[in-house]
């Protein structure tokens, strides 16, 4: 066995407000066998099971002598596994992985055109927020390895994110991971590409070259792991340079389905304050929308950070939609509903779309090549957009799928 310089490893979280996690202290010893101590909030129910799991993990990695303390606040198995494996790998060098079984329902792929109104950020090292994320039905969940994880927790977070991708059900949400900035983010890929990640967010993207580097590594890993399904990319533009290169970035690869803007870093880069009115980022947002539309991908807005103010969020969503965005990030589950509600077509839009689609139906039935509504001629792209609006409205529960017979 090859050892690292570190002799005692700590992983996980403990302390006030921490739930569904465990804090692991692992020390390799020269003799004395395995001394495992478990202090668990759920000891009555799971104490024996945790002990059994722990022993089997240590055994898997060939560790025969160690002191292991687990301070548990109700972590589920895949979390305990991630914490212990991370601790072990701080102490010894090994390529082996102790993987929880992949949930069958976690194996699904997503399409390029999928709705991406909302994507919920989940800090990559906080298991308690992951467990119930999917029940709030965001379009996507983002396991965040970048800014939401402290530098000294980056290593262990990868194991947690990997295990979450395998053994936490996100109930059909698009499974996204925000990796670290390229090139550091390339190391994250080993943990996510083989585990059915649907989409990778690429933070602080500034040039097309970064996307090429990333895709090269993804392709290598896909080949190694025999993966054929698409892994989509969503670059995040967060700097003045990124904004200037937005169109090149959008065009840089065929697996880019959307591009987002990150306004905290962008405004910092500009050297100005981020305001609710957002006039300082009007240019950047417009450039982004324009670049995305030109490249045929979805423009996605930044997050809105005041989680208590739903009215301000609503205003923000309406402005964002008016600028041409297709969705935005959320940092709290309660934001999802508001975002869906107001990115979705409103009643006026739906009514108009209905009239256009009916006119189109009628024209087709009569064998007419030209669609007209009243005295106005309707162009094909307008019909296409109306059909999209109708589909969306049905999808969002705002219109009955049998709407033609309800009139």
């Amino acid at each position: 066995m090859e050892f690292n310089a570190v002799k005692i490893a700590n992983t996980g979280n403990k302390g006030k407000g921490i739930r569904s996690d465990c804090f692991v202290t692992l020390e390799l010893t020269d003799a004395g066998g395995l001394q495992i101590e478990i202090q668990s909030k759920v000891a009555v129910f799971f104490g024996d099971a945790i002990k059994k799991l722990t022993s089997s993990i240590l055994e898997f990695f060939g560790i025969q002598n160690a002191k292991l303390l687990i301070e548990d606040t109700g972590a589920i198995d895949c979390v305990i596994m991630a914490r212990i494996e991370a601790a072990i790998k701080m102490l010894i060098k090994t390529d082996k992985e102790y993987l929880p079984a992949m949930y069958a329902e976690n194996i699904y792929s997503t399409t390029k055109e999928k709705n991406r109104f909302s994507r919920l950020y989940l800090p990559g090292n906080s298991p308690s927020l992951m467990l119930n994320a999917g029940i709030h039905k965001p379009n996507g969940i983002i396991l965040d390895l970048e800014d939401a994880v402290a530098v000294d927790k980056k290593f262990e977070a990868r194991f947690l994110v990997r295990n979450a991708l395998r053994a936490i059900d996100f109930y059909g949400a698009e499974r996204m991971v925000r990796i670290n900035q390229i090139p550091k983010g390339l190391e994250d890929l080993d943990y996510i590409v083989p585990n059915n990640v649907n989409l990778i967010l690429v933070p602080k993207c500034e040039e097309a070259e970064q996307i090429h580097t990333l895709n090269n590594r993804i392709d290598e890993l896909k080949k190694q792991n025999n993966i054929s399904s698409e892994i989509w990319l969503m670059p995040i533009i967060e700097s003045a340079k990124g904004v200037m290169n937005a169109y090149q970035i959008a065009l840089s690869a065929s697996n880019i389905v959307a591009m987002a803007i990150g306004l905290e870093d962008y405004t910092a880069d500009l050297g100005c304050k981020r305001t609710n009115e957002a006039s300082e980022s009007f240019f950047a947002r417009s450039v982004l929308v324009n670049a995305c539309r030109a490249a045929g991908i979805q423009p996605i807005d930044s997050v809105f950070s005041d989680i208590a103010d739903m009215e301000a969020l609503k205003e923000n969503v309406l402005k964002s939609k008016a600028l041409g965005f297709d969705g935005m990030g959320c940092i709290h589950p309660r934001q999802i509903k508001v975002i869906h509600e107001f990115f979705a077509p409103d009643i006026t839009e739906i009514e108009k779309a209905k009239r256009i689609v009916l006119a189109f139906d009628e024209a087709t039935a009569m064998g007419l090549g030209v669609v007209s509504l009243g005295t106005k001629m309707i162009d094909p792209p307008v019909v296409k957009r109306a059909v999209k609006t109708i589909d969306l409205a049905i999808n969002m529960g705002k219109l009955h799928k049998d709407w033609r017979n309800e009139i």
């Binding site: 009555v44 129910f45 099971a49």
Partner: protein
């Protein structure tokens, strides 16, 4: 005297004692099966000649009043939880008893709170023999570890009224802490510096206890209006500097939840009620004091407002959210059982539609009907639910007794009982094969709402039919249980001894279940 004796298996399949603290008990026979016979308990006849003509019943101290009431070994002493965690009078009673060397008292609180944990020392030294009422927090832990000299008896709010009315519990001295009172003993809870709303839990005690003491820090000249407690039942009045700690009277559980998971539960519950046709013009509802339950009220209000409808009545626990509905005209009456915040207290004083009720009107099972069965929908909590829809509210899954029954059992009689609960709490599954302690028979629990799915009791074919085409995730309770276990793993059973430490009474006074000692 044995703590308990003569074990039998009751109609719910639970092994329960039929003799408890020397008193013979009727085992649970099923919902609505047991019919009590005979006459109600009657207190002794009093004569006006024994009371001052000028109506002044004040005595200098609580100790004087207790001595005058004949305090002695083995007596049954009752108190009430109107001040919740701000109560100070119950503790003073037992301080006095202990100082006088009195032993083996039975304490009958309408509910106990964490602030009363200091009474453990009197349970240990024999001043208090046992508790009949509720054993919360540290008192519950103490009971669960088998340290109480007698057997604990847990009753619902309605069961407490029933047991006092029927003479199952004979109170020697009732001490009613009142925010405002006059020297004759008329008392009210809706004003004074310790205003707590109403004093309904003390009604039975005032009517049936042999001696009644009113303690207040706000003595007003006769008449104290309104007189929630009538002075004609009262023996002595004591004026103290402070009757309770006002800032602790408002309970911490009366704020709407901010947890997104709980809000989702509330939203799903409200949507269920809507789709099941429960929310309509003139409907009635009751929601408990927990954050989730409160939030459901807010969703109800939204729906009513949107459709221009109003609810006819709501049962409280009143709080600012119900008061808002009342004052906005979305609700015609609050039939208040206890007041959870100062807005509730204010409304009780100001709004004609905010009406006092008591465990007699709302919950007493040995009456000519009560309000609980007339409510269209009630929203309750639970610590565990089993696959037969049986519910537990008093013990946690580890067997520890931590909560009282409150009005929970009584509320189960509503037309629709819905329990919104998370599928698991810190890895502990909430839906289990069999509840640790049976507090509510599955016959009366209709719907379980969890964040991952809603289970309707198979007996409610009407609700199942109504929800057939719902977009809500309707599942079977077995499916929910399996889903919880898949996430958490199968929890091992806690080690409980055969020794019984407390019993759970059903609303009709029969013994529904026994609580076992926890093995340390």
């Amino acid at each position: 005297m044995k703590k308990y004796d003569k074990l039998v298996r009751n109609a719910a399949g639970r092994i329960v004692p039929t003799e408890v603290n020397g008193v013979s008990q009727q085992p649970y026979m099923g919902v609505g099966k047991y019919k009590a016979v005979g006459r109600k308990y009657a207190p002794l006849i009093a004569s006006c000649s024994d009371y001052p003509d000028d109506g002044n019943k004040t005595l200098p101290t609580l100790k004087d009043a207790l001595i005058k009431s004949g305090l002695r070994d083995g007596m049954v002493i009752s108190t009430h939880h109107h001040f919740r965690n701000g109560d100070i009078i119950a503790i003073q009673i037992f301080d006095i008893a202990s100082e006088m060397g009195i032993k083996n008292l039975v304490w009958v609180p309408s509910a106990s709170f964490e602030c009363q944990s200091v009474l453990i020392k009197y349970l240990e030294d024999g001043t208090i023999h046992h508790i009949e009422g509720s054993m919360n927090g540290a008192l519950g832990r103490f009971t669960s570890e088998g340290k109480m000299n007698g057997l604990g008896v847990l009753r619902s709010h309605g069961g407490r009224y029933q047991s006092i009315q029927d003479g199952e519990v004979v109170i020697d001295i009732a001490v009613i802490a009142a925010p405002t009172a006059d020297a004759f003993g008329n008392a009210t809870g809706d004003r004074g510096s310790a205003a707590c709303g109403l004093l309904g839990f003390a009604l039975a005690d005032s009517q049936y206890a042999n001696k009644v003491i009113v303690v207040t820090d706000n003595l007003v000249p006769f008449p104290c209006i309104p007189w929630q407690i009538q002075g004609n039942y009262v023996d002595h009045v004591v004026v103290v500097d402070k009757v309770g700690i006002p800032e602790k009277i408002v309970s911490g559980t009366t704020e709407v939840t901010k947890s997104p998971d709980r809000l989702l539960l509330a939203e799903m519950t409200a949507q269920f009620c809507d789709e099941a046709g429960i929310i309509r013009d003139g409907f009635s509802f009751q929601a408990g004091a927990g954050g989730t339950a409160l939030s459901i009220g807010i969703y109800f209000a939204e729906i009513l407002r949107e459709r221009g409808m109003k609810a006819r009545w709501a049962r409280g626990g009143s709080n600012k959210y119900l008061v808002n509905m009342l004052e906005e005209g979305l609700l015609e009456y609050i039939l208040d059982g206890q007041t959870f915040d100062l807005e509730g207290v204010r409304s009780m004083r100001e709004n004609e539609g905010h009406v006092n009720s008591s465990p007699f009107t709302s919950y007493n099972y040995h009456g000519k009907g009560n309000f609980s069965s007339m409510v269209d929908v009630v929203i309750l909590g639970a610590t565990e639910i089993d696959v037969n829809f049986n519910g537990n509210v008093v013990t946690h899954s580890d067997g520890y007794l931590l909560h009282g029954i409150g009005g929970w059992q009584n509320c189960l009689h509503a037309k629709c009982t819905i329990i919104p609960i998370p599928l698991f709490r810190d890895r502990i599954p909430v839906i289990v094969d069999e509840v640790t302690t049976l507090c509510g028979p599955g016959d009366l629990i209709d719907v379980i709402v969890t964040e991952r799915g809603i289970a309707i009791n198979p007996k409610r074919t009407d609700l199942i039919e109504k929800m057939k085409n719902s977009d809500l995730p309707i599942k079977t309770i077995e499916e929910l249980k399996a889903e919880g276990e898949r996430i958490c793993g199968k929890a091992a059973k806690p080690k409980l001894s055969d020794e019984i430490v407390a019993i759970v009474k059903w609303v009709d006074g029969t013994v529904l279940d026994a609580i076992r000692k926890v093995e340390k």
